[in-house]
């Protein structure tokens, strides 16, 4: 799973791979349009539904948060 998430990030926001901070959105590493692309790709690759309530800055603050989100949704599925 982690490898696939990293592949998606590499495609849409390579900078996220090396980002070590706590808020990619506020620090301008990632913007809302990139988040839309990443969500769409995650849904397709993992065949999951990412409800709008999960599309918040906290779940996209860094690559680990994105992986945590996918892990939770895969467990719920």
């Amino acid at each position: 799973m982690e490898e696939k998430v990293l592949e998606i990030l590499e495609e849409y926001c390579e900078e996220a791979l090396s980002y070590e901070g706590e808020n990619m959105m506020e620090e301008g590493v990632i913007d809302s349009f990139t988040v839309i692309n990443i969500v769409s790709e995650l849904e397709d690759v993992f065949d999951i539904e990412i409800d709008a309530k999960y599309v918040v800055a906290e779940n996209f603050k860094n690559k680990e948060a994105i992986m945590d989100l996918v892990r939770r949704l895969l467990e719920e599925a």
């Binding site: 959105m25 809302s32 692309n37 769409s40 709008a52 599309v55």
Partner: protein, 285 residues
């Protein structure tokens, strides 16, 4: 550089509002105006608050229309209001005040596609080009004189959110080109030429009336899907459809090559003219 505007107020959300806010803040030293930002519509991924904090810009959240109207009505000094991705309709009583000038960014080439969700409608109608318009705000919606326009193409696979992003970049570009002229009140604005067919798109309207008819041409279906695709931002509710007589909701879609076709429940494939397949994932209701 000189201006009679003592105060600049930015109201809006999203990338365009953020970039414009930063630009106006950077130009403050040139003109000496007071700058503030008003967030009327709140979005989960908004970064404008952070921009304001970093640059010491006054930041207010005024989600209530009446409260916002009251706040703006109290403005006394000569003020430029910059409306960037803002859906609040300024009342005539404000627009007509001599000391207030309002400019608005509309995400289409006015006088075409006035009103809401223009990127959706241009994609749905199969337009090949669109753009942005900065115009002065009058009492009529999207009717004011045009200050500047910028155009861009619409690709065969362009989704509403992608076009929106492109238009926001154009809005910023256009703004930087006309800001000085607006501040010095020397912008050469031209009136709009309205055609009798001009129609206003309302927030309650949705392309295809929100229904995906699977009997339609796949290209038209693809256009409808792309036209309402704003990711998870909730601009539109999910499209409804009917699969083998059963009501269903569209979950997502994707253009795929034929070799990627996989027979699975809740998924259908439609052939597109370019040889690819339109994969539609749905959920029965």
């Amino acid at each position: 550089m000189e201006t009679e505007f003592q105060r600049v107020v930015v109201i809006g959300y999203g990338k365009a509002a953020g970039e414009i806010l930063k630009y106006i803040a950077d130009r403050q030293a040139d003109y000496g105006y007071r700058l503030e930002f008003i967030e009327h519509e709140q979005h989960a991924l908004s970064v404008t608050k952070k921009i304001c904090e970093e640059r010491g810009i006054s930041f207010s959240v005024l989600p209530d229309k009446r409260e916002l109207g009251g706040y703006l009505n109290e403005i006394q000094e000569k003020t430029l209001l910059v409306s960037a991705s803002n859906n609040y309709l300024f009342p005539a009583s404000l627009v007509e005040r001599a000391e207030i000038t309002i400019i608005n960014f509309h995400n289409a080439l006015l006088p075409d596609y006035p009103g809401r969700n223009a990127p959706s409608w241009v994609i749905y109608q199969g337009e090949k080009r669109t753009g942005i318009t900065w115009h002065y705000v009058t009492a009529g919606v999207d009717e004011g004189n045009i200050i500047i326009q910028k155009t861009c193409g619409i690709g065969p696979d362009t989704k509403a959110y992608e076009l929106t992003e492109q238009l926001m970049d154009l809005a910023f570009e256009g703004f930087t080109e006309c800001f000085d002229a607006v501040l010095s009140e020397k912008a050469e604005a031209r009136p709009q030429a309205f055609s009798p067919e001009r129609r206003m798109y309302r927030s309650t309207e949705m392309p295809g009336e929100g229904f995906l008819d699977l009997q339609e041409e796949p290209e038209k279906i693809y256009r409808l899907l792309r036209s309402v695709d704003y990711g998870k931002t909730g601009v539109f509710p999910p499209l409804q459809t009917e699969v083998k007589g059963a009501r269903a909701e569209v979950l997502r879609y994707r253009k795929v090559s034929p070799e990627k076709k996989k027979e699975e429940a809740g998924t259908l494939y439609l052939p597109l003219a370019d040889g690819n397949l339109l994969k539609i994932k749905y959920r029965l209701l």
